[in-house]
């Protein structure tokens, strides 16, 4: 069965996504790393669905719909920040910093 190997790949991809969010300062790349994490979670849902029934596929379907909505809204926010600040580097976006 492929459950164990799938969960290993999923774990590594998720950690890569977390590392990307921590390492990068470009807002768009951080956003792509969030997508990477969502993909890693989808992979473990599919791996479990192979043994527990097709409900896992339905959940993945919903995750994809939420990811699409999130990408649209998030990128719109990045565009409006860029209009205001002329940069997407998170170091320069510190309006809420005390």
């Amino acid at each position: 069965m492929l459950l164990g190997p799938s969960l290993i790949v999923s774990a590594v991809l998720f950690s890569l996504g977390v590392a990307g969010v921590l390492l990068r300062r470009n807002a768009i790349i951080i956003f792509m790393c969030v997508e990477l994490m969502l993909n890693a979670v989808n992979l473990s849902f599919i791996a479990f669905a192979q043994q527990l029934g097709p409900e896992g596929h339905v959940i993945v379907f919903f995750v994809m719909a939420v990811a699409a909505a999130e990408a649209a809204v998030g990128l719109a926010i990045i565009i409006s920040i860029y209009r205001f600040k002329e940069t997407v580097n998170l170091q320069n976006i510190n309006l809420l910093k005390g």
Binding site: V12, Q50, A71, V73, A76
Partner: protein
């Protein structure tokens, strides 16, 4: 046969995920992420999820990544001179945290679903043969999960309106 094929796709996915978080240019990052998504679609086929594999390529690698590339193009971020990596202390911190997290999640490798929930081996493959790849998902989606499905449409509508309002210069 499936296991070597799985590791080919899994290796490509991990390698391109690593390239995605280390490339300097956002365009290169996005292309490596698309590569990861394609190999994940391959893994989905090996895990008897053909419909999800198709949706992965169409929606994720197609639609969502096109929005990303479109925004990168719109903001003209393609050529970056300086790297946007955090400094050495941040790199070490995230290396330690990432390694810890990988180790913690590796415990999942030992996970075996409880006997009474587990389907007999090959059930999903026979279900796909009997009901078709789409029918297998449509059955629970339109019976058990019909309310979340309808709520998803409201969510997408809200996202469309929100994206237009946020990105528009003057309303």
């Amino acid at each position: 046969m499936t296991l070597p094929l799985f590791w080919v796709f899994g290796g490509i996915a991990i390698l391109s995920g690593f390239m995605c978080i280390t490339r300097r240019s956002p365009v290169a990052s996005a292309l490596w992420l698309i590569q990861t998504m394609f190999s994940l679609a391959g893994i989905y086929v090996l895990l008897d999820a053909q419909f999800i594999a198709v949706i992965q390529v169409l929606v994720y690698a197609g639609a969502i990544m096109v929005i990303f590339l479109f925004v990168i193009m719109l903001l003209n971020l393609g050529r970056t001179k300086t790297t946007d990596m955090v400094g050495r202390p941040g790199q070490i911190t995230s290396l330690v945290l990432g390694t810890l997290m990988t180790l913690e999640l590796f415990v999942l490798n030992k996970v075996i679903p409880a006997e009474q929930f587990r389907l007999p081996e090959g059930t999903m493959a026979t279900m796909t043969d009997e009901m078709g790849a789409v029918g297998m998902i449509a059955e629970p989606l339109f019976r058990g999960y019909i309310v979340p499905f309808e709520i998803t449409s409201v969510l997408l509508l809200a996202a469309v309106v929100g994206a237009v309002v946020l990105a528009k210069r003057k309303i």
